[in-house]
Symmetry: C2
Subunit: 207 residues, 2 copies
Amino acid sequence: MSEMDFNELEGVTRPKTQRGEVTFQKLLEAAEAVFGEKGYYETSIVDIIQRAGVAQGTFYLYFKTKKDIFRQLVVHLHHEVRKTIQEAVQGVANRLAAETTGLRAYHNFLLEHRNLYRLVRELEFVDEDLFKWYYQSFANNYARRLSQAMEKGDIRKMDPEALAYSLIGLNVFIGMRWPLWENRPAPTIAVETIVDFITRGLGTETK
Amino acid sequence: MSEMDFNELEGVTRPKTQRGEVTFQKLLEAAEAVFGEKGYYETSIVDIIQRAGVAQGTFYLYFKTKKDIFRQLVVHLHHEVRKTIQEAVQGVANRLAAETTGLRAYHNFLLEHRNLYRLVRELEFVDEDLFKWYYQSFANNYARRLSQAMEKGDIRKMDPEALAYSLIGLNVFIGMRWPLWENRPAPTIAVETIVDFITRGLGTETK
DNA sequence: ATGCAATATGAATCACTTGTCATATTTATT
DNA sequence: AATAAATATGACAAGTGATTCATATTGCAT
């Protein structure tokens, strides 16, 4: 619980010159690519430094362990996903409509970052605390917006946290079924069903 | 796609005598425990054989690789989960009521097998095909029962597959939030919210 | 231009893990 | 009781990967 801050991860030494900064970024980009392709455990530090085109020792100038560079990547990715969805949903006044928009934005993000997304799912087995932080901060934010919608009367009053996890789980599995497994957006019939299901589930009345 | 059968896994040699059967089981139980505690990748074959109290070479009498014993465990677990839920739901005539019952049964199973459940989640990164098989056969079964309920008029006619994945995702995430993370059943208020959400989402009318 | 901190290198070390194999023991069958 | 198949052992070969370190180079500040 509480508000953990993972902005400055220990185990990561930021470079102090411009030249170092370039190397640092090269390492992160290489790690992102290789982790995405082969997964965390199947990737060796040698894989990363080869892809980045630097020597073994250079890696340890900036990262203490393989886990540390992984953490750095995940935190960055987390901000990306949230920003994307937030921007997509922003301006959509109605919460129910926002659900649909958010669903689509999330799926598009998945389709464009399928490799990256793999990292988040594997996070559970690499650093469980960071994994919890990832979904908790996601869920807290979600729950907050649901609460606001309840105040406005857009949706029924219910336990916002339970709803937040339910909706995240729903999105994650639908995102797995079509975008991840079939590399395409969910078919229309599926989207309609989901929207209908959520609308009735959250809404104040039926038509 | 198609009906894969994972009943006789290659890479697994079943014992031919009673004595062998005992060793075989010892290995499986040890693997279950150690995988559950440390995760697949952090576990070595030495960990398993030490826990089982057998020699190195014995392992290779029955399993070709670490992955093979892992597969064997997952397939077994899969049957367990389904059996548990099926038995709990059996006899509950109404589909909506069955959802609640199924949710509870699933959570109880999680609470009693938290380590085991970790294996399924890690499966995605160990053997993606088996992972898909796991959730697909789960979802197909779920969808079939939803279709039947639609025929009977218990629930509205919608895309059963989309619903199945939605409901599984919901259950998985709620199961993660309370049973797994806090080692207790979801609080009453949460359960009420979820049941209400699903009831309205699936149901034919509102009250 | 000098000197010091930062950066870069890659060979070497250390800690493990997997998988094999010659040998020994046990079990089932006759 | 004899025999062959099945089971069990643990030392060992071979490989892999993480991390360190002595050394070299570069860049920045003075």
